[in-house]
């Protein structure tokens, strides 16, 4: 019960404080919140520039997942989803003009936990569950216990940018 009480106190923090509590790597560099909270899409969707669906490998319900990809939370299935969208596996996270990159984070078990997308100019953007989008300088800033570590990088030709305008920090 003590653990529940401690975690429950997180709910009274601002969204920024809650983010930094759970993803402490963001304190190590610059980041900003770039959207209001939106429960309708997640990091996988944001990686694919889809803000209307919650992409997750679980059949039924409100989860969106290609019918020809195994509905199982495996790295292979995630790679297949992004391959269907024109991505292929690459080695370097460094920014390259004309190339759009995503990073798939996994836990040590290789179960995917997060996807981040590289923005034009080299910064990265992450959708934090059903909460906000953030822009962060470095990929490693969101690598921590919550999301595991970067396991696979994938690249495709960059589509024209249509990023959202910056908004005020939410509290």
């Amino acid at each position: 019960m003590a653990r529940v009480g401690t975690k429950a106190r997180i709910g009274r923090l601002t969204v920024q404080e809650r983010i930094e509590t759970q993803i402490p790597g963001l304190r190590q560099g610059a980041y900003r919140i770039t959207s209001p909270e939106d429960p309708d899409y997640n990091c996988v969707a944001w990686g694919l520039r889809d803000t209307a669906h919650w992409w997750s490998p679980r059949p039924g319900g409100t989860n969106h997942w290609p019918t020809d990809v195994p509905a199982w939370p495996s790295l292979t299935a995630f790679v297949e989803v992004f391959e269907q969208e024109g991505y292929s596996i690459c080695d370097e996270a460094a920014y390259e003009e004309g190339v759009e990159k995503i990073a798939i984070f996994t836990y040590p078990s290789e179960e995917p936990a997060h996807v981040a997308r590289q923005l034009k100019g080299g910064k990265w953007t992450s959708k934090l569950g059903g909460s906000v989008d953030i822009e962060h300088d470095e990929l490693r800033m969101v690598a921590c216990g919550l999301y595991g570590d970067v396991r696979v990088l994938m690249c495709r030709a960059r589509a024209p940018e249509a990023e959202r305008p910056t908004i005020q920090l939410l509290s």
Binding site: R3, A8, G11, P39, D40, H53, S56, T62
Partner: protein, 176 residues
Amino acid sequence: MKRLVLEPRLGPQFSRPVRKWAVSDLQCGEVVEPDWDVEWGRIVDRARVKEASPAGLASVRWQLPLAKKDPIPVQPYPYSPDEVRGIFEPLAESWEAETEFLSMTPQITGHPAYFEIVGLGPPAVPLILERLKKSTRPWFQALTAMTREDPAAEADSHSEAAKAWLEWGRRRGLVD
């Protein structure tokens, strides 16, 4: 020492107290002893091999102590509405806080607090709907498990699913 490889095979009726198990390295008519080495599962009572196939597989009628009474007696719901709320609120806060930034549905709905809330059963449904009204979180699988209904089956997004569940709750007077 005999070696058993057990694989649960529920009988034709789920609620029956006797379950069938696939057992290898046994001969027809042998009695399963409690001290035998078990690779999967556990021996809880003596059982006798009823059939043995040419491949060496056998089925055993197995009496589980939990299921000695048939049917399992239905207990009255043990909590008052206030007690349900007292149990529910810390669990819900914990689940919402610890899964807020997770994106993978299996990780979100696999949280231990989520299971505990589902275990509270229908009396916790109005409390979930109250929370759903304030914040759209993926309570939908819990609600379906607790009510055996799915008014959000056609929903394409979490917002649509929340709306469908709140309408369902309003029609039943479970939420304002």
